[in-house]
């Protein structure tokens, strides 16, 4: 069934099959992918957002926690605090968004329950957070972000100034030098105060209040140093005790005030801490635990989903691979089968075509050869015909001579016959005469025979007489004598009769001879007559035959003329067949070229059956051309005076026709040369 389909059907069917296979494989894959997509969608759109949301929530809550913790850091600047508030806002916003997102997502029972718990917990935590933030705001309003630092600074400053003061006093006591301390701006406090800004009015006031005493203090120090340098110890002491100490006490008093504020702030911070560390932390922990569980749940679900997706993907992959393998194998098998079948068929056809084309080429070569031979034969035939016609003319003249001779023979034979007839007439008469002689001799012989018989009987009688005489004895002696005498007489007569008989016999014999001879002569004359009659007859036949011969020669001439015509047409046909064979070989060559093209298509550009017939056929064509030329020459040479063959103008016209045929044959011969490069060009285009 497969073999009977058209090629286009086969190819289309095969491609459709392959397309179907591809479609099948694709559909398997697509199905797998779509299922995976749904899984992935689930994971991506649900689980991961869930996880994401949960994580975001966790992160943001943690961020809030972190922010809170950060806010606990007293060293934060206002910007930083604000940033933390901003972070908290952002975190809250994000949290809200994630919260909403998670809320919107589909949850299973457990997750929903947990979610509810979480919501409750988070709300509780929020309350605590808000309390915390209230505290922070409170702190901020206090304007002392880092009370500990301030406190330490204050302490340091106090210490510094105490030290300075003690150093001063030391100097006073022990001498020595004192480095620095003169410039208020160089003092740490001075520096600090220069740059310290706060919103706390108390502090501000304090700071403002400190400025002057501080300056004065340091002035005092300067003065002291001067004094010391100037060895004005007393002044120095005075300075020290009267000015520096109270100034320092003032400063320190203010610092105490500040410290009071600081303490407030520290309280607040403690509260914050407490709040954060206990309530917030508690609630946070609860919420975060719940979230963690939720996250775990989500994770588990996600992992499940991922696992199932992975499994499904493995299954889908397996199916795809199977489908691909199947499809590939099927397609390959189909393609292989198809290509093998087609190429085998094509190869068969090609082989057959090659064989056929070779056969055609060889056959055309043979045809060319045979037509060449035919042409040769035709030319030979023409020459032979000329010879035949000349011979025929001689024969005609000969025949005429024969007829004349026959006529003469006829006349002579007639004369001979007449003479012979006369002779036989005479012979008949002679035979008659001899017959008469013979008959008379016969009669005489008869008579003689009678006489002989008589003599015999007489002899017998005589013998009987002798016997009787002998019987008679003496008495019969005389009788014996008589008997003897009678016997003698009988013997004599017998003798005579015998002689006569002999003579008669002889004459009879002669007569017989004569009869025989005359009979022979008559026979011979008859034979002569018969012969001359025969001769006459034969000469009549000969003349008739000569006439017929002449007629026949005439007919033969006509036939020879026809043969000449036929020979000419044969020659023309031989030429035509030669040119046709040339064309045939050209076609065979083209066929071979096409087959080569086909072979190249089927078998790739490596294979190629060579073109073998071109040289042979062109060679043959060339030979044929030569042959026809020769024949032309022979035809055209005028044979001496054979008007039977030369049909006047017809001959030369025919020659002209043949020349024209030769010219076209020549052009046809030259065309194969043009055909071959054309074939190569066509091949190159492939």
């Amino acid at each position: 069934m497969f073999k009977n389909m058209k090629l286009s059907t086969k190819l289309t069917g095969s491609f459709i099959l392959v397309a179907l296979i591809t479609l099948g494989v694709g559909m398997v894959s697509w199905y797998g992918i779509s299922t995976l997509n749904s899984h992935v969608h689930e994971i991506g759109e649900v689980r991961i957002p869930m996880k994401d949301s949960v994580n975001t929530i966790i992160n943001n809550l943690i961020n809030i926690k972190v922010a809170q913790r950060t806010l606990l850091d007293p060293t934060l600047s206002k910007e930083e605090r604000q940033r933390q508030y901003d972070n908290v806002e952002v975190a809250r916003k994000n949290y809200k968004a994630a919260f909403d997102a998670y809320d919107a997502l589909p949850k299973n029972e457990e997750a929903a329950k947990q979610w509810k718990e979480f919501v409750a917990a988070v709300d509780a935590w929020k309350i605590e957070n808000n309390k915390f933030f209230d505290l922070t705001k409170e702190l901020e309003t206090m304007g002392i972000p880092n009370p500990d630092l301030l406190e330490s600074k204050m302490e340091r400053f106090s210490k510094d100034h105490y030290r300075l003061t003690s150093q001063v006093f030391n100097m006073v006591e022990t001498g020595g030098t004192l480095e620095g301390g003169e410039d208020p701006t160089q003092c740490a406090l001075g520096k600090w105060m220069a740059t310290y800004r706060t919103e706390n009015p108390t502090l501000n006031n304090a700071v403002q209040a400190i400025l002057e005493p501080h300056r004065k203090f340091h002035e005092a120090v300067k003065q002291f140093k001067l004094a010391m340098a100037n060895k004005q110890k007393d002044k120095a002491v005075e300075l020290a005790t009267k000015e520096m100490a109270p100034l320092s006490a003032t400063v320190i008093g203010f610092m105490e005030t500040m410290l009071g504020e600081v303490g407030k702030a520290q309280d607040t911070i403690h509260k914050m801490n407490a709040q954060l560390m206990t309530n917030c932390l508690e609630k946070q922990t609860i919420a975060l635990n719940i979230l963690a569980k939720l996250a775990e749940n989500t994770d588990a679900l996600t992992k499940d989903a991922v696992k199932s997706a992975a499994q499904y993907s493995i299954r889908a992959k397996t199916m795809s691979v199977i489908g691909i393998i199947l499809g590939t194998v099927l397609a390959l098998t189909l393609g292989l089968f198809l290509s093998i079948t087609l190429s085998r068929q094509l190869n068969q056809i090609i082989a057959y075509l090659l064989g056929c084309s070779e056969q055609v080429a060889s056959a055309s070569g043979q045809v060319a050869q045979s037509s060449q031979q035919m042409a040769e034969g035709a030319s030979e035939q023409a020459s032979s015909l000329e010879e035949v016609s000349s011979s025929l003319e001689e024969m005609a003249s000969m025949t005429k001579q024969n007829a004349d001779s026959a006529k003469q023979t006829n006349a002579t034979a007639t004369e001979a016959r007449v003479g012979a007839e006369k002779g036989s007439e005479v012979m008949r008469r002679m035979a008659g005469a001899i017959d008469k002689i013979k008959s008379s001799s016969d009669q005489t012989a008869k008579i003689l025979k009678t006489i002989d018989e008589i003599a015999f009987q007489t002899n017998l009688l005589a013998l009987n007489a002798a016997v009787e005489a002998a019987r008679a004895g003496d008495a019969g002696k005389g009788f014996a004598v008589v008997a003897e005498e009678v016997r003698n007489l009988a013997m004599r007569s017998a003798e005579a009769a015998k002689n006569t008989a002999a003579l008669i016999e002889e004459s009879q014999k002669n007569a017989d001879n004569g009869v025989k001879v005359s009979a022979e002569v008559a026979e011979i004359l008859n034979q002569i007559v018969a012969g001359s009659q025969k001769v006459t007859q034969l000469s009549a036949e000969v003349s008739a035959g000569s006439i017929e011969q002449a007629q026949g020669i005439e007919q033969v001439n006509v036939a020879v003329a026809q043969m000449d015509k036929v020979t000419q047409s044969n020659a023309a046909n031989a030429e035509e067949s030669a040119s046709a064979s040339e064309q045939l070989s050209v076609q065979a060559r083209e066929l071979n070229d096409m087959v080569n093209v086909l072979v190249q298509i089927v078998g790739g550009s490596g294979s190629g059956a060579g073109l073998k017939t071109s040289a042979a056929s062109t060679h043959l064509a060339g030979d044929h051309g030569l042959m026809t030329h020769k024949m032309e020459a022979r035809r055209d040479s005028p044979a001496p005076g054979h008007s039977l063959l030369r049909q006047g103008n017809g001959g030369s016209r025919k020659a002209a026709q043949r020349k024209g045929a030769l010219a076209t044959a020549g052009s046809r011969i030259s065309r194969p040369e043009e055909v071959i490069p054309l074939g190569d060009d066509d091949l190159k285009e492939f």
Binding site: F456, L460, L463, N464, A466, V467, A470, R471
Partner: protein, 166 residues
């Protein structure tokens, strides 16, 4: 001319010569009754070949013998010269008259004793009793036959039987 009815050692006498197959034979004239030309011979069945048959001679029925066949010679066609010699002879029983067919009758010759020679012997097995002797006449040899013995006893009896049959 001596006439003797009895046979002697003297064999001289007249003999009738006849020819048979080119040879001349002689018969004693006294034994010869007559000579006649060939006439119709009536064939007798169940007789040997040499007995040609019987003839009617003036009322008498005589057996005729073909001497050629008798002598074991080949038979010859009868010619116009063929004659029948009627002879009389004595067989063991009685006198018999018999015809002998011969080719040609010659003549009657007179043969003297001096012209007669004895029959030469041809050995023990051949019986030449029927030849009286051999005569010489005119440089020719004539075998003189003894008629009595030419026909043997058996033949004579046969002859009688033939006659009786007829």
């Amino acid at each position: 001319m001596e006439t003797n009815g009895t046979m002697q050692l003297n064999r001289a006498g007249k003999y009738l010569t006849f020819e048979l197959k080119g040879e001349i034979y002689g018969l004693e004239i006294l034994k010869v009754q007559e000579i006649i030309g060939l006439m119709n011979v009536t064939r007798v069945p169940k007789t040997p070949d040499f007995i040609r048959g019987v003839i009617n001679l003036r009322g008498k029925v005589i057996p005729v013998v073909d001497l050629r066949l008798k002598f074991m010679m080949e038979s010859k066609e009868d010619s116009e010269r063929t004659c029948i010699i009627v002879v009389q002879f004595k067989s063991a029983a009685a006198a018999m008259t018999m015809g002998i067919i011969v080719d040609e009758v010659k003549e009657v010759v007179n043969i003297e004793n001096g012209q007669i020679e004895d029959t030469p012997s041809f050995g023990a097995d051949t019986n030449t009793d029927f030849i009286l002797g051999v005569g010489k006449v005119n440089q020719k040899v004539v075998m003189l036959l003894d008629v009595d013995k030419v026909l043997s006893y058996g033949d004579a009896t046969l002859m009688e039987q033939t006659i009786e049959q007829v």
